[in-house]
Symmetry: C2
Subunit: 462 residues, 2 copies
């Protein structure tokens, strides 16, 4: 192993050389356009042996010809040319390269030899490499993206993503912002011929903008190193891992995808647990739970209070919370006292507390948040959309029905509060508005309960 | 137990009496309006002791005054008045009533006595009752809805819903159509003082428009009867059950919600399995899997072929399929032969078959569908939305990238084919269009794999 790389230039380059700019549709055509749109036009230098112009920008024939300060290269040439490009970069003094080209170790023996050759060339010149077979990095703070992403995905947030696969990172970026989930940094690692997930974890652990990390892993480059990097990182912020290759056929598939050896699942499970990392069971859970982990503090204990406008969903959430190791205790005495006399008798004073689609949602939620016997609160908000639409002209929107949840969150900053909103997408959007950026709004009662359990898991001794 | 009721008038009444029409916002105000909008104005008779007019319709003071033919009553009066209304209905010869009012057995001892009293009154006159504490029925074929639902939710389809809770049924109706999932009939049962899920199952088993049934159950009214009704029904069509009250606290919560005794979960699990019913683990799975069950034939065997444009998602789906008892076998020889020479060498000829976002998706999918060694096929379609948006002006939409999946489905009608589309919602919509109504499009690779496993489960000896 080389010494620990300084990853900063990958995320905050002074200038970027894009090797493989081209007029043919594809990465080499789209990425320069997208980088310029994000404000990097004056620090971007295109390279292609044919020279000429692209999108009105000059194309240099060689890396050596690039005039400005450049400390990062994005490489999109065919695999066979990559070793030579590494040489060129080294000679030009560019010490950081993102190799997006595919056709290396993931494609068989010939590719593996080519990858070794490229790595040797890079090492000779001290060039650190992300990739190959990846789409590189995103940093929303300075609007850097070495991949074409939607403008909406560039809204800065507190979540950082680490994925082996480029496409995987890409679709996360496509879908997260639609759930009001915003990214700090994203890295796709591909075949990890040099920089790996351990390097990235150490970097993100120290990154002030990163509040929680979601990682998709097919296999560890080095199990022991990963365990240590996770330990260091989870001491500072939550790390949620979706690890695939859990079954024999799944493991076989990872080998041909990112040339990963995914290993026995139960070993990973134990190692992740020991390291303080949390494990997502599914892609959906990775997305929903990291939203919760990035927005809410750890839970002090395991007692969950549920306020709901739907009895059924309250039961579904209760079942999952208990299965995940939380308690859904009987309604604490102080909550009962606060509400008795305040709410009509048709409301059963229990936990989960089913108030129906009534005006008693806010007092019930406040009483739960105030209770010392409740460690975290899940608000399940449901209302038939036809009813909501009928009342909207009278000013009764989602916020009017379920109260100013955003303010309640501010009033009780140390008590985790999440919302589960089920139903029509217009209603879910309304609830997202009412809840504000500080309160995660999920759409599945079971996933919400699992994510709450993770907030308690953060406090468990590792 | 009374003799098996004839449920047809609940779904196909000749005329409806609505007892409890009112000027105050709520069910008694909104439902008459919504029924008229759905074309029932000329067969709807409103009743309220105050008389007068509502929405320009005459309000009768007594059920006895209603002039036209009416065989169904929708009752929305306060709980205490319900026994007297049952008497009135009986005397008027109306033999079917949906009692939507709450405040019965679910609200404690007093309510339980009231419910018994109402039932006695109903029985005296041979009135069959759905409810109380429910929102009744929906029949999209004749646009009947005893609850306010969105116009979009009235699009006829092949899925029928049975839920105890009214709100639950309602939010399903709000959310299903947004996923291109359309309903035949829906019933919410509430406290089930008379008609229960067994009666409904028998009715839906014989209903020609119902292709698959999704049921949310907190507890069986009568376990043995349910088992028998499920056996009869699953012999004719798939039944998917989401059963809550799986844990102690969950069971306690069901008691106060719909006065259900939910019983030991493992007994339910065994009973459901024996009866040929399928069990959903979560609300999301209930929705996604019933879509698959209603659209696709059972699988002949357990071998799943996966064609994917994302290696990662292919691995995640493979892991879940194997965990659910399917096989993801090595790529069959005939598929290999069909594709070798046709696709470039960077495509690994394996199963899952990762073709990237290339033009080889359709040939790969066809080869899988043609293979005798593959019992069902999952197509995982993923493309970064920024790329899709860039190519769209050149006519490259979702369909152009991933082929005419709807036609492939028609070409291989007996081989289950589902799509998993992950990413931006606009892309998912595009894929829904490309797949057509005959191919379910899900958005989670793990849920898609679980749903495919259910297609095999349909063929397992019960």
């Amino acid at each position: 192993m080389e010494e620990r790389p300084d990853l900063r230039p990958f995320f905050e380059p002074r200038g970027i050389v894009l090797v493989g700019a081209t007029r043919t549709p594809g990465f080499g055509y789209g990425i320069p356009l997208s980088m310029r749109r994000h404000g990097w036009g004056d620090r971007l230098f295109l390279v292609n042996p044919r020279g000429g112009e692209l999108h009105g920008m000059r194309v240099y024939r060689k890396v050596a010809e690039v005039p400005g300060p450049a400390d990062l290269a994005v490489v999109i040439v065919p695999a066979k040319q990559v070793p030579a490009v590494m040489e060129e970069l080294g000679q030009r003094g560019i010490r950081h390269a993102i190799v997006e080209s595919a056709g290396f170790a993931e494609a068989g023996e010939e590719g593996r030899l080519l990858q070794d050759e490229a790595l040797r060339a890079a090492r000779r010149h001290g060039v650190r490499v992300i990739g190959p077979n990846c789409v590189g990095v995103v940093n929303t703070a300075n609007r850097l993206a070495t991949v074409e992403v939607l403008e909406e995905a560039m809204t800065p947030g507190g979540i950082s993503l680490v994925a082996q696969s480029g496409v995987f990172g890409n679709i996360l970026l496509d879908t997260l912002y639609e759930r009001e989930l915003h990214v700090a940094k994203a890295v796709t690692l591909g075949n990890r011929m040099d920089v790996d997930e351990c390097d990235v974890l150490d970097f993100l652990a120290a990154d002030e903008r990163t509040r929680a990390i979601a990682m998709y892993l097919e296999g560890a480059a080095d199990g022991r190193r990963l365990l240590e990097a996770l330990r260091r990182t989870t001491a500072r912020k939550p790390v949620l891992v979706l690890k695939s290759g859990r079954t024999g056929p799944g493991r076989a598939a990872t080998a041909s995808h990112t040339a990963s050896l995914s290993g026995e699942d139960r070993l990973y499970d134990a190692a992740l647990r020991q390291s303080g990392a949390l494990r997502a069971e599914t892609l959906e859970e990775l997305i929903d739970a990291v939203r919760v982990l990035s927005a809410l503090p750890p839970a002090r204990g395991r007692c969950l209070g549920i306020v709901t406008s739907s009895g059924s969903l309250g039961v579904l959430a209760t079942d999952m919370a208990v299965r995940e190791g939380l308690e859904v205790p009987p309604l604490p005495g102080e909550v009962n006292e606060a509400l008795r006399g305040e709410v009509p008798t048709w409301i059963n004073l229990r936990n989960p507390l089913d108030v129906g689609p009534s005006s008693y949602f806010t007092p019930a939620l406040r009483a739960m948040l105030e209770s010392q016997a409740v460690d975290m609160v899940l608000a399940i908000t449901v209302i038939p959309y036809a009813v909501l639409r009928e009342w909207e002209p009278l000013g009764m929107d989602a916020k009017a029905w379920f109260g100013d949840i955003a303010s309640l969150r501010e009033e009780f900053p140390y008590k985790p509060l999440a919302v589960c909103a089920v139903g029509n997408s217009a209603f879910v959007s309304g609830m997202r508005e009412a809840a504000g950026p500080g309160v995660p709004v999920l759409t599945s009662p079971e996933t919400a309960a699992r994510a709450m359990a993770m907030l308690y898991g953060l406090r468990r001794p590792s």
